[in-house]
Symmetry: C2
Subunit: 397 residues, 2 copies
């Protein structure tokens, strides 16, 4: 049984803050500071260039990938860490499209995170082979899977509403129609038990700065099913994905397995921070995380809805259909979120009207959830959001 | 006049080590440790998600780019920081090729760093528009520039020999034939005075973990000439290069200027370390660096050649034709480098037979160079390399 009191103690949580935005950027694991210092002083400082071998920097994209593999139900050796999620989506799309040269549709949905769609549009334009991107409503995706589709690219958990696709079912239907699947796990990894191998996913990508708590700008990861890994074309053919990177051949030969999806030099300081975050995940059973996430989110919804009827639940009511976040529609959501932040409750806003709250059992308790719901009720019922100080100015992050 | 005794004091240099590999990974700036700690504890730890605005993480790819711009003779706003050099090369190539839809040759040279060629090959295969990569010998590049060439993609300073292309002259010839130029500055930035704007370079990319001393895995940078920046197609259309990233539009609209070449979330911890390295560069005149680099390299060559005639200079003898490294051919180079490392002199080996030494005035003195040359002479003349302990085993880094 996971001891969440113990996991909470391993994070730095600022005084008088209830942090419900770990679905955007996870908090600082206390051990990350000393881990990064050790990497800087004892590895970079003392070993210098020898750190690539002697401190195993060069193999980290694979060894850290193996640590993530356990969290997402993936096979050892099937996950590589590096770059950003956008880049990994591009690589997965490039490889998947190359496997279906005679098909012309990339099927996604209009709830997908925009960068996934932008990367697809950019690739479609470059490849110039008559590809089209289809983005039906999320509920219409299943019915849109047919033999015209080359690739089904979905984000499992919607970044705005928390609505969750059924990975296993959609993957099975995709495969029945000869479609390759790409799952974006940005809001899944560290939030839900995942079973990529069991679901027979083809490719998956995710990031490590949200629920995983790897730190701002922590690298992305990419999963390649072992059955594809030796044939997948790494459209970004970087030297670190070469079969023999230090031979400096003028010709490219892809490395065996998922390691071919490495591109350039990995971010060693970010890796150190991520490793410290993963140490906490070693103490956690993902099924316990899921169970407690549902306890927290049900409690939160109930309390908010009981206290203020102006917020409309934007997330699915059935917890099995949600990720680990709860979102509400509210016309003045931007201002309400600013008012909440000024009171020490950090959630975030997503256009046009969504107030979004991440419920993360590793460091959020039932008492936090109760207090947050009370603050929300106060802000809404007392119209505390209606203050010029909380008006939108310029860019929203 | 740059005070190199003062710059040297700002680095951690391990005891009893002469570090002649700063052309591969620069040493640790002392201030980088506290800078990264501050970013972790006071920004990530305390501000959490608010760090993107309140600690200016979101604007760092541009603000740090402006600090680099000064070092490479580029216009303010023309440089973005992020990703890896491989990715930036891919973007530059994609944008450059889109500007020349009717031409079919990418001209490079066979001395280029392999990843640049791999990225070009991968892109050629994806675009499938009959493009070809030509890689003549470096000396034959100038004569190969003609109207068939879409893009001239060169690394200014050869990673093995230190041979330097004439950026201004080749760019001028390229432009006279309607060719777009991409300059890889991996071994130039922080090594030589650069004048991208004056040379009328179109695109340039580089890394910050070599001479710049940003740390292992520090991000790359990309220059886009202001005359192209509003039209250049960012083939990797990531959300942070969108005109309004936080509107989360389903359709992509590129940001004005070079900022469109941003892709995903920047590596905030690596940025902090890089900022500390750039503080040292603020105290430096690049012309002084160049002058002292020539003093060091001439002194080094003279001493090595005087003491052992088995090493053959692989770098150009004329210092104006070299970057800030000196390389020698030696049949048993791999073993000789291992023998030197065991004596505390760190250089590196590049296949097939190159012993490579970076001469970096910020922290390397004339006394260091004299001592290193003496060690080399001892290792060669006393055949200390001829020891089973120094034989090549597995991967070389």
């Amino acid at each position: 049984m996971t001891n969440f009191a113990q996991t909470k103690e391993q994070f730095h949580l600022p005084k008088d803050i209830i942090y419900l935005d770990g679905n955007s950027l996870g908090p600082l694991p206390l051990a990350a500071c000393s881990r990064v210092q050790d990497t800087m002083q004892n590895e970079w400082g003392e070993l210098l260039i020898r750190g690539w071998n002697e401190a195993s920097w060069f193999s980290q994209p694979i060894s850290v990938g193996d640590r993530l593999a356990r969290l997402i139900g993936a096979e050892t050796g099937s996950v590589v860490v590096g770059d950003t999620l956008s880049i990994k989506i591009f690589q997965a799309l490039g490889a998947a499209l190359a496997m279906k040269p005679d098909r012309h549709v990339i099927l996604s949905d209009r709830g997908n995170f925009p960068t996934d769609l932008y990367m697809a549009e950019g690739l479609i334009q470059s490849l110039d082979r008559g590809l089209q991107l289809h983005t039906p409503a999320p509920e219409a995706v299943e019915a849109s899977i047919d033999e015209s589709v080359a690739v089904l690219m979905l984000t499992e958990v919607d970044y705005r509403t928390g609505r969750r696709h059924d990975m296993k079912k959609l993957t099975a239907k995709a495969h029945a129609h000869g479609v390759i699947t790409i799952w974006d796990l940005a809001h899944s990894a560290g939030a839900l038990p995942l079973a990529l191998s069991e679901a027979k996913a083809d490719f998956a990508c995710g990031c490590t700065y949200k629920y995983i708590n790897g730190g701002p700008g922590a690298p992305a990861f990419m999963y390649v099913a072992p059955r594809h890994a030796d044939n997948a074309e790494p459209i970004l053919a970087g030297w670190q994905g070469h079969a023999e990177p230090f031979d400096f051949d003028l010709n490219y030969t892809a490395h065996a397995g998922a390691a071919r999806m490495r591109v350039g030099t990995p971010p060693v300081l970010q890796m150190a921070s991520l490793e410290a975050a993963l140490d906490i995940w070693e103490q956690v059973d993902m099924h316990d995380v899921r169970e407690q996430s549902i306890v927290l989110s049900e409690r939160f919804i109930k309390s908010v809805e009981r206290q203020c009827n102006q917020l409309k639940l934007a997330s699915p009511r059935d917890p099995m259909q949600r990720g680990s976040q709860v979102s509400f529609h509210f016309e003045h959501g931007y201002q309400a979120i600013q008012a909440l932040i000024s009171r020490g409750v950090i959630g975030d806003f997503r256009a046009p009207d969504i107030m979004r709250f991440g419920l993360t059992p590793l460091y959020i308790t039932e008492a936090d959830v109760d207090a947050a719901a009370d603050h929300i009720a106060t802000v809404i019922n007392e119209r505390l959001w209606d203050n010029p100080e909380f008006m939108r100015k310029g860019t929203v992050t």
